[in-house]
């Protein structure tokens, strides 16, 4: 179960998405996430979804992995959708169960929220799936390098992120091992209520923390042995250069943004659809 965590994982490949400049990927993902929250109608949402599907296909990342990335937010999506359906009473009522009104407006908002959350998760997982952690943190370091003026050590933060991402799989393995060790000594990690289970995890996390500190200590030695002395004077194995494909990607996402802005002005929002549907239904009935 714990091995299912795919956060921050990287799947090496040679697709066009893999080869995009990581700085551009970072910026594009950011624009995409903002854009997806600005979509107010089906045309805009459709465009953004189409863009995402195309990117996924181009990246050659298996759909199974994409599905895996959505799994952890499934509960959140479910809860928000249910809440929207129950509490949003706009539009016409389709079903009435006592005090519960299911309305068209509620369903519209539920669908939009679901699509937004899923697209957000898929877009950001696609970023880490196709970018090696080192390149990703390098990109962050470069994009945020102006912060040096206000005395923020961007390099250290980026290095910490590299190491954190590097150690995620190692620590997951370790949690697995410690859990097995504690289970073999009779620890019950799987039954009881939340509080009992939380308490049962203490003997898992104590050794994990202690080991992490000794790991950090050893890693620091190893880094010193390899002449690490901070960001100054470091060079890089991989260069970052904006190529034609980066500008094309930027153009594509800006075009999508254009569609959103235009359609938001020209096409009526879903709440208004429901009004139209409303009058249509009334006309029929």
């Amino acid at each position: 179960m714990i091995k299912d965590i795919t956060i921050g994982q990287f799947f090496p490949g040679n697709s066009i998405i893999h080869r995009l400049d990581p700085r551009m990927k970072l910026v594009l993902t950011f624009i995409y996430i903002i854009a997806i929250f600005l979509c107010k109608n089906f045309l805009a949402m459709g465009t953004m979804l189409l863009f995402l599907i195309l990117t996924v296909l181009l990246s050659k990342i298996s759909l199974k992995l994409i599905a895996k990335s959505i799994k952890p937010v499934f509960i959140i999506v479910l809860i928000t959708s249910v809440l929207q359906i129950v509490y949003n009473n706009k539009g016409i009522t389709l079903l009435e169960l006592g005090r519960l009104h299911i309305t068209t407006g509620g369903i519209f908002t539920a669908v939009f929220t679901t699509v937004r959350i899923v697209a957000l998760v898929v877009a950001s997982s696609l970023l880490t799936y196709t970018t090696s952690p080192t390149l990703l943190t390098d990109a962050i370091e470069r994009l945020f390098s102006p912060l040096k003026i206000v005395k923020i050590n961007v390099h250290s933060i980026a290095m910490m992120m590299t190491i954190a991402l590097r150690f995620i799989p190692t620590l997951i393995d370790e949690v697995d091992k410690i859990m097995s060790a504690q289970k073999s000594r009779g620890a019950d990690l799987e039954s009881g209520n939340i509080i009992q289970r939380g308490k049962a995890l203490v003997p898992v996390f104590v050794p994990l923390f202690i080991n992490s500190f000794s790991r950090a200590y050893e890693l620091a030695f190893a880094m010193e042995c390899r002449c690490y002395k901070g960001g100054e004077g470091r060079t890089r194995l991989k260069e970052m250069k904006l190529a034609a494909r980066d500008y094309i990607a930027l153009f594509a996402i800006l075009a999508c943004c254009g569609v959103i802005i235009l359609s938001n002005r020209l096409i009526t929002a879903p709440e208004q659809y429901s009004n139209i549907l409303d009058s249509f239904l009334r006309f029929v009935l």
Partner: protein, 284 residues
């Protein structure tokens, strides 16, 4: 030949927390010279001070007393630590705790990147280092998915990419299975023979120590024996007293001699053992 690393009558004590009792000396008056091109094994029990020796070799730790000189540079001089670490690299026991980046080639590039080398030079060094440890085809793999022996070889490549003249290996095989252990030891000997890198490896496997040019035995923070493997392993009763053993083939040869089988006394390695048994069979 000149000494590349010289421990001059050094002592070292780990600093204790306040109020605690003073810790015993981890290294107590050790003098040891490592000649350029040598392949030295350091043997010793847990807590004999052998691992501390590796950390003292490139100014990760500074001796409490005495001096460590690396090609004439004093490790106590902080301004020189950068040059010292370029000359003497250290590979530690746990490969997981030495690998900084998630992708093999990016990790190997970490050292050269720190040295501020130009991009083409980094590329060349990374490729050369990965070929030297026979991991070139894994360069774009994720390090956490490799086997223990492969990970340790990546860690070695990370040090080789800095082109050091001498490498200290601190129990590089202790956490590996027999297959990984053999991979790593083969790599270490190849580096010594083909790349002419001075090698010092700390181990508690007698069979590994028997393959070195020179064996140094440490006990209780002091050097007990120092010499060619054949000379050192002659002292089997002394070794047994400090909880060490002789290589398994030496033990087997000794037992066979006791059964009046005419086998030479100074056998240490499997190779030698096979040869003499074959010779014996040929005579019959």
């Amino acid at each position: 030949m000149e000494n590349i690393v010289e421990f001059q009558n050094i002592s070292f004590r780990y600093s204790e927390d306040e109020g605690e009792e003073k810790l015993p000396l981890a290294v107590d008056g050790v003098s040891l010279g490592i000649k350029a091109g040598e392949c030295v094994a350091v043997l010793g029990h847990n807590g004999s001070g052998k691992s501390t020796l590796a950390k003292l070799s490139n100014s990760i730790l500074i001796p409490t007393e005495g001096k460590v000189m690396v090609k004439g540079m004093d490790t106590a001089d902080e301004n020189l630590s950068y040059d010292i670490r370029k000359t003497v690299g250290v590979v530690f026991q746990n490969p997981d705790n030495q690998i900084v980046a998630s992708i093999v080639e990016e990790d190997v590039a970490f050292g050269p990147e720190n040295l501020g080398l130009p991009r083409e030079e980094i590329r060349r060094r990374v490729d050369d280092a990965l070929k030297a440890v026979d991991m070139y085809e894994y360069r774009t793999h994720e390090s956490h998915k490799l086997s223990g022996g492969q990970k340790q070889r990546v860690a070695i490549a990370g040090i080789i990419a800095m082109r050091p003249e001498c490498i200290f290996f601190d129990e590089p095989t202790a956490m590996l299975d027999p297959k990984g252990r053999k991979e790593v030891m083969d790599t270490i000997f190849r580096l010594n023979r083909e790349y002419n890198i001075t090698v010092v490896y700390i181990t508690h496997f007698m069979d590994e120590a028997a393959l070195a040019d020179r064996v140094v035995v440490m006990d209780n923070a002091k050097i007990l024996l120092d010499g060619k493997p054949k000379e050192v392993f002659k002292n089997d009763s002394l070794l047994k007293k400090i909880g060490l053993d002789v290589p398994s083939c030496a033990y087997l040869a000794k037992e066979l001699r006791r059964e009046n089988i005419n086998i030479p006394e100074d056998i240490l390695t499997r190779e030698e053992f096979t040869q003499s048994v074959l010779k014996l069979l040929g005579e019959k």
